[in-house]
């Protein structure tokens, strides 16, 4: 009945806070850091805007009104209009939703691919590990934006292409982290005890390695959100990302760039939310990492 013994959950240790309390403590620690407080504020603003976009949007973001072309900000159009007379505030709000949808979808796909790959590399045979590492190294040595351009020229622009580019770019670094964690877990006593009790590989990987790997991986993904948002906006700015009719920050910037000598309003309206988002998520991610796992900070001595 060896397997039954291992499946009995460990009794809660007295004095160790439960998960909700630990989450609350982490949150307090993140917010008490001035950097984290700014980050949480900005992230909350962006997430709320993305969630409430259909409710709070003042105009149809794609409705064209030639008479009101390139209007300056006013009470009717708080952020003015673009070169087709579309309301910029509405486009920015819906653009927030686009940015968050693309970022979260691609990160979720990347994590889902990187977790098994990294665990196989770390736990499996040496030759497989070497093969995976070589493959990851090769993909990492492709400069990200160049990789993006190459994929776009093959598959054509669109949301799914952007997601594919982001996944291709992030899987190697995530899988590498999972692999390193798995390798160090492999030699720990509790895994050895499992192996001694003849536990299956799948069981060890999913019940013991996975829970220990997910935490650091989520922090890394959180730190990556601003890079991912930048990549999506960048590709859209080049006209190679989200389709022009879908409002996105990159598309607003792209439209604004073409009329930059006539009106600075669209470029400012598209760029400021992007800057706020990247800064917000970076500050939040840094504070979260400091609160949860100082070891991950490359600037600190382990």
């Amino acid at each position: 009945m060896a397997t039954d013994v291992t499946s009995i959950p460990a009794p809660p240790i007295a004095g160790e806070p439960g998960i909700p309390r630990r989450m609350a403590l982490t949150f307090v620690e993140v917010v008490s850091h001035p950097l984290g407080a700014i980050g949480v504020l900005l992230v909350a603003l962006i997430v709320l805007t993305a969630l409430l976009a259909p409710v709070i949007v003042p105009y149809n973001p794609t409705a064209i009104s030639v008479k009101e072309r390139l209007a300056d900000p006013s009470l009717t159009h708080l952020l003015g209009t673009d070169q087709l007379g579309r309301d910029l505030l509405s486009r920015v709000i819906v653009g927030t939703r686009t940015a968050m949808t693309v970022a979260l979808t691609s990160l979720a796909v990347a994590l889902a691919i990187a977790l098994p790959l990294g665990m196989i590399a770390g736990y499996g045979p040496r030759w497989l590990d070497a093969l995976f590492i070589l493959l990851f190294d090769s993909i990492s040595s492709l400069p990200m934006i160049m990789l993006g351009l190459a994929v776009v020229v093959l598959l054509g622009p669109g949301v799914s292409t952007v997601i594919l580019v982001i996944v291709l770019y992030s899987v190697p670094s995530y899988a590498r982290l999972v692999r390193t964690q798995t390798l160090s877990l492999k030699t720990r006593d509790f895994i050895k005890a499992e192996q001694a009790m003849n536990a299956g590989t799948m069981r060890i990987l999913f019940r013991h390695v996975l829970p220990n790997v997910v935490g650091p991986l989520l922090i890394l993904a959180c730190l990556d959100i601003s890079t991912v948002i930048t990549l999506e906006a960048g590709l859209s700015f080049l006209g190679l990302g989200v389709k022009p009719q879908i409002p996105s920050w990159g598309n607003i910037l792209s439209d604004g760039f073409s009329v930059i000598r006539n009106s600075p309003v669209p470029v400012i309206a598209g760029g400021v939310p992007l800057i706020l988002a990247t800064i917000g998520f970076t500050f939040f991610g840094e504070a979260l990492r400091d609160a949860l796992d100082p070891k991950l900070n490359p600037e600190r001595k382990p």
């Binding site: 001035p34 950097l35 070589l134 493959l135 190294d137 090769s138 993909i139 040595s141 492709l142 400069p143 990200m144 934006i145 160049m146 990789l147 351009l149 190459a150 994929v151 776009v152 020229v153 093959l154 598959l155 601003s226 930048t230 906006a233 960048g234 700015f237 080049l238 006209g239 190679l240 910037l253 604004g256 760039f257 930059i260 000598r261 600075p264 470029v267 400012i268 760029g271 992007l274 800057i275 990247t278 800064i279 998520f281 970076t282 500050f283 840094e286 600037e299 600190r300 001595k301």
Partner: protein, 314 residues
């Protein structure tokens, strides 16, 4: 040392071959007729047939792959679909522009970054340190193409101080330098933050070492310890990281080149993507990967030169 470098170079070559194979596979995974994809829907049947023969698409898959790699080994990156010029020649023509931009951004960003890092260390734990830390992270986070757009808006459109387009006429050094200011500002800004954080961390680590304590005990001035000893150690520690990053700067210039309509690798790739000039895209991606990997080898060599322990690990 030499065997170490040879081994690293060997690994780099293997990586580049894999990159080439990946690109080749990507070309073959596209649904539909590859000639239509490469030449665009406007191409005529004769053009497609010529392209098919030029690329050897009528032969078996493995033979095509072998041919592709053999051509690469000879430095043949294929031809421009429209002008029929060799891709390698085109790349070598624009490479100096990108290299100049990357180098200029690198120089100003590293100088300012090191300076900010030092100031942060001198004010360690005080508000000056905190402020520099905040600004540094913000610099790293802000997308470089937004910096490019905003600096274009302010300094070229509003103030009209600096040119918005091009790289200056050949031979006119002053105009070339003026055209370099805004793009290198956009490319380098993120680096300022990155370098200042690295230098700050490395110096703080250095200040905790025993020899610094001994120096203090001997009564060496704090200023001399900071700039003479800790900074030296920090610079050596940061050098390899910076060398790797230089490869990143080459691609960081893609957006600056497009926003400022500056000739260069990035602009060329973008134009090729827009005109679906597939061999040119392949060529630039391969060359930039090669440069990237070369920077990694240089970084390894620098590290190995400075730290004998590393040589045995790889």
């Amino acid at each position: 040392m030499i065997t170490f470098l040879l081994r690293r170079t060997g690994l780099a070559v293997v990586i580049l071959v894999i990159v080439a194979i990946l690109l080749f596979l990507m070309m073959h995974m596209i649904p539909g007729d590859p000639t239509v994809v490469a030449l665009g829907p406007r191409s005529t049947p004769e053009m497609r047939e010529a392209f098919r023969q030029m690329m050897g698409l009528d032969r078996p898959f493995i033979e095509q792959l072998g041919l592709f790699l053999a051509r690469l080994a000879h430095g043949d990156l294929g031809q421009d679909v429209w002008s029929r010029r060799p891709v390698l020649t085109m790349i070598l023509e624009v490479l100096p522009y990108t290299a100049t931009l990357a180098l200029a951004s690198f120089l100003w960003a590293v100088t300012l970054g090191v300076l900010l890092g030092c100031i942060a260390v001198v004010h360690h734990g005080k508000w000056g340190d905190w402020l520099i830390g905040l600004v540094s992270i913000a610099f790293v986070a802000v997308p470089s193409f937004v910096v490019a757009l905003y600096s274009l808006l302010v300094f070229a459109v509003w103030l009209n101080w600096l040119p918005a387009i091009g790289a200056g006429e050949p031979g006119d050094l002053a105009a070339q330098l003026r055209s370099l200011i805004l793009p290198s500002f956009a490319v380098g800004l993120g680096w300022v933050g990155y370098v200042s954080r690295l230098i700050r961390a490395a110096m703080i680590e250095a200040m905790g070492e025993d020899y610094v304590r001994t120096l203090r005990a001997y009564g060496v001035a704090e200023r001399r310890i900071t700039y003479r000893y800790a900074l030296k150690q920090a610079l050596l520690a940061v050098l390899p990281v910076i060398a790797i990053g230089f490869g990143g700067l080459l691609t960081g210039s893609v957006f600056a080149e497009i926003v400022f309509t500056r000739p260069g690798l990035g602009k060329m790739t973008y134009d090729a993507v827009m005109s679906r000039n597939f061999p040119v895209v392949m060529g630039t991606v391969l060359v930039t990967s090669g440069l990237y990997v070369a920077c990694m080898i240089i970084a390894d060599a620098v590290t190995a030169l400075l730290d004998p322990r590393v040589r045995s690990t790889l």
